[in-house]
């Protein structure tokens, strides 16, 4: 793609591919994450369209009930773990080192390892479709539906192994970025000068390294139950199926903030830039992000009001859930106050940010409605919840990410995206999402349960379901407009220059796309908004003074990732030979990685 300029030693196709496999450059890994996640996003979107086509009218039989189960499970799992998380990771990788004035992340090879593990985990999970055994237990896979008794096929095994592999990738990346942000800041880049996107990345990674071990344990129990006959989720042995729900949501609710905080960070960069005003209440935004991360650990059981935890637990989790709305709401007011009295410029990134605020408020309000246990009992497992999560995740996270894509695209490629196509993309997506998801509130309150492959005309929700389907296809169309925009703008190639938006943070002080060493000289930061500051930052020279030594490539991270994949395939097929082979590859990979000469 547009990164050809970075590949200096890659004349032939073979060596070009090889240079991508062995790369440890955070920018190239960011592009790998972005492209891969976007393909998974299209795949998850396609699954959504088939679901909506099936639900367009009552008593339809476009897909079988079993295939429908696979579709909604894979749609949810894909969008959460293979689209939104890695799309955010693309920006962590590409933008964070630039924002803090670093030459790379703290552990470049670990970074490459994270990407390869993520890719192979995603491929393994989706390979299940070729065996007609895609996961079919829902994205939160409640016990004991996932037991061998009720799910004898390989479907759940694909899901369990896929998620465990993805967990490895996430934890490795989480540790890497925590250390990078805390330890690789340029001189003068104090913590309270960090751009908000970097701050939200830091908070997100804190949640990742603490939340993923919990789901890992839940998945290990499930895997042992299915493979070795343990009794963790077995009621007959005295076990409690709610153990799964507690462990899953103990991870699952922090996960919600893993999905939304990066988008909030992106919006916090875009809104000041296009309002020509510094962010209102920087410190409050940072602290409310931290508060969300902490409170996010105390709300998990609001996903479980319907299981009958008793009045005390219900009351506690209701209150904490209402409480977490406060730091979230604070951020909304900060963004609005930033725009107040600013010189607004409604370019595409800004439109998506505005769309983010409006739609996140809608999703947030229905979220607060769920916090009341009594009301939640009416809404749980109905389409009302589906409306809520889609306002938060599509209206919120995805719109925020598109805002980030349009904002940083010029930095990452060196050329601008077309504004007219960008605005078409925004309006189609905005109209489509409201048409698709708003009727779901009513569909749910009228009694249509989620995850049922069809419904009866008697329910009287045919018309609204049809509207929703039309909306979903408009979203699909809007995504095609984005792809066309990329293709068209790449042909037009309007040069972006260093700082096309007149933005304030450090990544805009260097060429687009940045050279592989990022900064010719490590900048000395004197303010929070170096590009807007009165106290001039010492100019970054256009040419490096001497040769800048950057880490070379390594293929051992990719080899180690393949070892993990083979190990997982061994577990899937219950083949000891495969598993041992994978373990050997993994161990060899790690040792070779540890002992290869690698300068940084």
């Amino acid at each position: 793609m547009a990164t050809a300029a970075l590949t200096v030693d890659a004349p032939g196709f073979g060596s070009r591919v090889w240079s991508w496999i062995t790369t440890t450059d955070h920018k190239r890994i960011g592009i790998l994450y972005g492209v891969t996640a976007f393909v998974f996003f299209l795949l998850g979107g396609l699954e959504a369209l088939v679901i909506r086509a099936q639900l367009a009218q009552s008593s339809a039989d476009l897909v079988s009930a079993d295939f429908y189960n696979q579709l909604f499970t894979m749609h949810g799992t894909t969008m959460v773990f293979l689209a939104i998380m890695p799309l955010s990771a693309a920006f962590f990788n590409y933008i964070v080192p630039l924002q803090i004035g670093a030459r790379d992340v703290a552990f470049p090879r670990l970074n490459a390892f994270s990407y390869w593990v993520f890719l192979l985990g995603g491929l393994l999970m989706n390979a299940s479709f070729f065996f007609g055994a895609a996961p079919n237990g829902g994205w939160f896979g409640y016990a004991n539906l996932t037991s061998t008794q009720y799910s004898p096929g390989l479907n759940i095994d694909f899901w369990v192994l896929g998620l465990q592999i993805l967990g490895v990738a996430s934890i490795a990346a989480g540790i890497n970025f925590l250390v990078t942000i805390i330890n690789l800041r340029a001189p003068g880049m104090r913590m309270m000068r960090l751009p908000v996107f970097t701050w939200m990345t830091l908070v997100t990674q804190f949640i990742v390294v603490t939340a993923f071990p919990v789901i890992t344990v839940a998945l290990v129990f499930l895997m042992f139950d299915r493979t070795f006959g343990t009794t963790f989720y077995s009621v007959a042995a005295g076990g409690d199926v709610l153990l799964w729900q507690h462990l899953f949501w103990l991870f699952g609710h922090p996960e919600v903030y893993i999905l939304i905080l990066p988008a909030m960070g992106m919006v916090s960069e875009v809104i000041p830039t296009f309002s020509r005003k510094p962010l209102f209440g920087y410190a409050v935004i940072v602290y409310s992000g931290l508060l969300i991360a902490i409170l996010g650990w105390g709300v998990w059981a609001h996903h479980m009001f319907a299981v009958g935890m008793g009045p005390v637990a219900d009351a506690v989790f209701s209150s904490t859930t209402m409480l977490i709305a406060i730091p979230t709401g604070v951020k909304i007011f900060n963004w609005l106050a930033t725009m107040w009295g600013g010189k607004l410029s409604l370019k595409t990134p800004m439109l998506f940010s505005l769309g983010f605020i409006a739609m996140f408020v809608v999703g947030g309000l229905s979220g607060v409605m769920h916090s009341s246990a009594a009301a939640d009992l009416q809404q749980t497992d109905s389409y009302f919840v589906v409306a809520h999560i889609h306002y938060v995740l599509y209206g919120g996270a995805i719109q925020g990410i598109f805002s980030g894509i349009y904002y940083w695209w010029p930095k990452m490629t060196g050329w601008m995206l077309n504004e007219r196509l960008g605005k078409t993309h925004f309006w189609l997506s905005f109209i489509g999402l409201n048409l698709a998801f708003f009727p779901m509130h009513f569909i749910g309150l009228l009694g249509m349960p989620r995850r049922i492959y069809t419904y009866d005309a008697v329910l009287g929700v045919d018309a609204m379901n049809f509207m929703s389907t039309v909306g979903a296809f408009i979203i699909g169309l809007s995504t095609i407009v984005f792809v066309v925009n990329v293709w068209y703008s790449r042909r037009e190639r309007i040069e972006a220059g260093m700082d096309p938006w007149g933005a304030a943070t450090l990544e805009w002080s260097i060429p687009s796309p940045p050279p592989n060493y990022n900064f010719t000289a490590i900048p000395e930061v004197v303010s929070r908004l170096p590009q807007w500051s009165d106290t001039e930052m010492k100019a970054i020279p256009t040419e490096p003074e001497g040769e800048i030594h950057m880490p070379g490539g390594s293929y051992w991270p990719a080899v180690s990732a393949v070892g993990i994949l083979v190990l997982a395939v061994g577990a899937l097929l219950e083949s000891l030979a495969f598993a041992l082979g994978g373990a050997v590859v993994l161990v060899v990979g790690i040792y070779a990685w540890a002992f290869e000469p690698f300068e940084m």
């Binding site: 925590l178 330890n183 919990v214 042992f224 153990l243």
Partner: protein, 194 residues
């Protein structure tokens, strides 16, 4: 890993690898936290099979003592590497690995014994939670022993001078963490048994 990274300037002054390792340990706390919580939640709820009566506290006290002594050896190994004392680095690294293996031996004996007594992974909630929790810990000890043996080999290759003491320090952090986890498990599973 290269020594060039040691000289690398960092914002906090703390070596990035050490910070990463502390973060990893933080993450591991949640892993063992979830395992231990599950054990506690399921305590006394088994409907069949042997109960906690089969736990042999005197025997496990000995293996706990062995593991704790390995932590002492680990401290001495790090001190020897830091002062460039090749002979005693090897002695203490080998001792740590040996004591760790001794602990694993006790665990292997205990597991076999329990299986003979009729307690397996599948028998009951106690069996499932006990074996998975202590097995996870044993797995961590096993990885630690491999790590220590690797360092021992590096020492014999004369590639573990005082400039590489950070590598030993990281292994030590891991080793001590695994020990601390065992103290919690020993207390919760053995000493506070119901």
């Amino acid at each position: 890993m290269s020594e060039a990274a040691v000289a690398h300037h960092t914002s906090t002054g703390l070596d990035s690898r050490k910070m990463a390792f502390w973060t990893f340990i933080g993450s591991e706390c949640l892993l063992f936290g979830s395992l231990i919580s599950t054990y506690l939640v399921y305590q006394g709820r088994s409907v069949s099979g042997p109960t906690t009566d089969i736990l042999n506290i005197p025997l496990t006290s000995i293996s706990t003592f062995v593991l704790l002594m390995s932590s002492l050896a680990m401290v001495l190994a790090l001190a020897a590497v830091t002062r460039g004392d090749a002979l005693w680095s090897r002695v203490w690294l080998a001792t740590t690995a040996l004591l760790g293996s001794g602990f694993l031996g006790f665990q292997a004996y205990e597991f076999t014994h329990f299986v003979h007594e009729g307690l397996t992974l599948q028998t009951s909630l106690f069996g499932s939670t006990f074996f998975v929790l202590t097995g996870f810990h044993g797995g961590h000890v096993f990885v630690g022993v491999l790590w220590l043996l690797t360092l021992l080999v590096r020492s014999f290759q004369r590639k573990l001078g005082p400039d590489k003491s950070l590598q030993v320090e990281l292994a030590g952090l891991y080793w001590h963490f695994v020990d601390v986890v065992w103290i919690v498990i020993f207390t919760v599973v053995y000493l506070l048994r119901q």
